[in-house]
């Protein structure tokens, strides 16, 4: 009998744990509340997915009188003639005898009044007139007219280095503090990050997290042991910062030069001493990851483009001594915006996207050099837009500033390829291409051959053909670099 009693009570305990398990406290986080000249960091509690704030601490900080009635289990907050009454375990709040409904009940634990975060806007704003702003999921609150400019973070693997880019609409002072396996970028003012953390991991970066839980904005970059050096560079009047992480495996001289400074010429014996107009070339191997591109029995487009891009990188580095960056150096998927962003972020002087063709005609073996379609998107610009409307202009027209130079670079490439690979047709064409539309430098896309043509696909997989192709493209880049059109860049 005793045994059954023990079993039943244990079963009841288990059932209770099972049903109320969801109510168990998830985590406590520090949430800073930014007021115009001061800030308050409160310890928020997340219960059952609702963020609760210790409301007494907030109103004490704001200097609002209140009465905490222990016996009645009510908290009354006063401001002028208005009165706000809240009761323990109730989602109903009385404001001047008018009932307000909160999404979750108010709690009282160990003498602390915990109100859901919505109480600030539903209750406290009505009572005091102080406005509060917060984004769902973002652990920070702005009160009144606190100006918190948006901060954009972006991380990219650029061949031998990893670059973290910070962009803000106002100038910032950012200080780099280096810990053992951490880089901390301390920011001197309150900012509002677009994202709390970056989904970026590579051989040098474990995580990138924005943290202002102590009221001081900073970005914490967790690095791996591969990182040997890091450098912080400011650009655009301190509105843009680049944090470059270097690894011991690659010589530091091949790293991207800071955009604000002139590029230091690489110490190579075969570098052309003449003035080079193309200092940074970004090569984009098309497709990657799940996106295989066109396929043939011999090769997938994503593998061909990466192999050719790597060969082209070494050809350009040897011949021209230019800094060459790949948008991807492994089999990963990237969207088109991220590809052109690598070129834009690194102030590239030329952007080449490499692709392989596919035609349903199995005998076709033509190749094309594409530039962005002229006047694309022209009918959709709002030249007359003023003020706020300009914020919503689409960023498809970045290509236009260097349209002529792009055509000139494409002509150099077509000429070089037609000479080097006789018997193959190379046409310069225009198309509304996503990857070129927002590249703000001379940019072109090379589409090689036809993967549906077995002979052609076999040739494209041949390593010696790829090397010859890379050398020919490097020739064309050199000729473009020496041409007056490149100077316009």
């Amino acid at each position: 009998m005793k045994l059954i009693r023990i079993a039943i009570s244990l079963a009841a305990l288990g059932a209770a744990l099972f049903f109320f398990g969801g109510l168990i406290r998830a985590a406590d986080t520090n949430i800073p509340i930014y007021f115009p000249n001061s800030k308050l960091v409160v310890k928020a509690e997340v219960l059952n997915r609702v963020t609760y704030l210790p409301i007494k601490q907030v109103i004490e900080f704001m200097g609002i009188p209140y009465t905490d009635a222990l016996a009645l289990e009510t908290l009354t907050i006063r401001s002028g003639n208005s009165r706000l009454l809240m009761t323990k375990n109730s989602a109903l709040v009385s404001y001047n005898d008018q009932i307000l409904l909160l999404p979750s009940p108010i709690l009282r634990e160990d003498g602390r009044w915990l109100a859901p975060i919505e109480f600030l806007t539903i209750g406290l704003t009505r009572l005091t007139g102080t406005e509060f702003r917060y984004r769902a999921g973002a652990p920070r609150i702005y009160a009144e007219n606190v100006d918190a400019p948006e901060l954009e973070m972006n991380a990219q693997t650029l061949g031998p280095i990893t670059r973290l880019t910070l962009r803000c609409s106002v100038p910032l002072n950012v200080e780099l503090k280096r810990d053992d396996q951490r880089a901390i970028l301390a920011i001197d003012r309150s900012v509002d990050p677009f994202r709390e953390r970056l989904d970026h991991r590579d051989r040098m970066v474990r995580s990138v997290v924005f943290d202002d839980s102590d009221g001081n904005a900073k970005i914490v970059v967790d690095t791996t042991r591969d990182v040997t050096d890091m450098r912080l560079t400011a650009a655009d009047n301190n509105r843009v910062y680049f944090l470059d992480l270097f690894t011991k495996r690659e010589p530091v001289t091949e790293a991207v030069p800071p955009p604000a400074l002139p590029a230091a010429p690489a110490a190579r014996p075969d570098v052309i001493p003449a003035e080079r107009k193309v200092r940074v070339v970004v090569i984009d191997p098309g497709h990657g990851g799940m996106d295989t591109g066109a396929k043939s029995a011999a090769i997938a487009e994503k593998d061909f483009t990466l192999a050719l891009a790597r060969k082209l990188r070494s050809a350009l580095q040897t011949r021209l001594g230019t800094t060459v960056l790949l948008t991807r150096d492994s089999d990963v998927a990237l969207d088109n915006e991220a590809r052109s962003a690598v070129a834009n972020n690194n102030q590239a002087n030329l952007f080449i996207s490499v692709h392989a063709g596919y035609s349903t005609n199995k005998t076709d073996a033509g190749s094309s050099v594409f530039v962005m379609k002229e006047n694309f998107g022209e009918g959709f610009t709002t030249a007359s837009a003023t003020g706020r409307d300009q914020l919503f202009l689409p960023w498809y027209l970045g290509y236009r500033i260097h349209q002529q130079a792009s055509v000139s670079a494409a002509n150099f490439l077509q000429e070089a390829l037609s000479k080097a690979i006789p018997g193959s047709k190379f046409a310069v064409r225009t198309a509304p291409l996503a990857v070129l539309s927002s590249a703000t430098m001379p940019s072109l896309l090379l589409e090689m051959g036809n993967l549906n043509n077995p002979m052609n696909a076999q040739t494209l997989t041949d390593a010696s053909f790829q090397s010859r192709l890379a050398a020919t493209i490097a020739d064309a880049v050199q000729r473009f670099s020496e041409s007056p059109q490149a100077a316009a860049n």
Binding site: N336, Y396, A434, L445, E447, L451
Partner: protein
């Protein structure tokens, strides 16, 4: 069996039951998340409406198909549709012709076999919105040139034959897509581009007529 072993077994059994309960709960949640993504097919399909009536007169159109070889990327093929009262129905007929593919062997089929037109409407500003099924993107073999000819065979065939359509916006699977197969931008509506075809724009054709002929044309009007 000793008493403490019995108690131990019972506690172990209850623990197992609780763990199983949590597991079932988690599995249920995952399933419900997966099921939410599935969309049921609409059982109340509207009855197919004819795209033209028997009294509609025939209308000659030029349908653009990718050329197998040659300088022009697209080559026009003369076809006939019926001049239905609604412009959208004429556009649907032209799209049907594109889907059916060219009659001649010197041209290629521009659309993947399984691609279907799910919806089509024309805005007051003359933008034709065409919603293709997902197969339009998933079954597309890829290639920049191939993608370009797929898109412009639709855009040019509609805008050339139906002057009421000024531009074409392509949707896929009911939503706006950045590109069709990773290359050509679909975010903005596309306008007619006859430079890649073997056909001259209509106004240029009139301008190239001999003077006497254009004078005759004017006097007739």
């Amino acid at each position: 069996m000793p008493r403490h072993i019995k108690i131990g077994l019972i506690v172990f059994g209850i623990g197992g039951a609780i763990a199983m309960g949590f597991f079932v709960d988690i599995v249920g949640r995952v399933r419900s998340m997966v099921n939410e993504r599935e969309t049921e097919e609409n059982p109340f399909k509207p009855p197919a409406q004819p795209l033209y009536s028997p009294t509609d007169p025939p209308m000659a159109v030029k349908v653009f198909f990718p050329a197998e070889s040659g300088d022009s990327l697209l080559v026009a093929e003369d076809q006939t549709i019926f001049q239905s009262a609604e412009i959208a129905n004429r556009a649907r007929q032209i799209l049907q012709k594109i889907q059916e593919g060219p009659k001649l062997d010197t041209m290629l089929a521009p659309l993947p076999k399984d691609a279907k037109v799910q919806d089509l409407f024309i805005s007051e500003q003359g933008t034709a919105f065409i919603d293709f099924s997902d197969a339009m993107a998933t079954a597309h073999p890829g290639g920049v040139l191939n993608e370009l000819t797929t898109i412009y065979s639709i855009v040019d065939s509609l805008t050339y034959n139906l002057p009421e359509i000024k531009q074409v916006k392509i949707l896929i699977g009911g939503v706006e897509k950045e590109t069709l197969a990773g290359h050509c931008l679909l975010l903005l509506p596309l306008e007619m581009d006859l430079s890649i075809t073997n056909v001259m724009p209509r106004d240029e054709k009139i301008a190239q007529l001999p003077r006497s002929a254009s004078a005759v044309a004017r006097s007739i009007n």
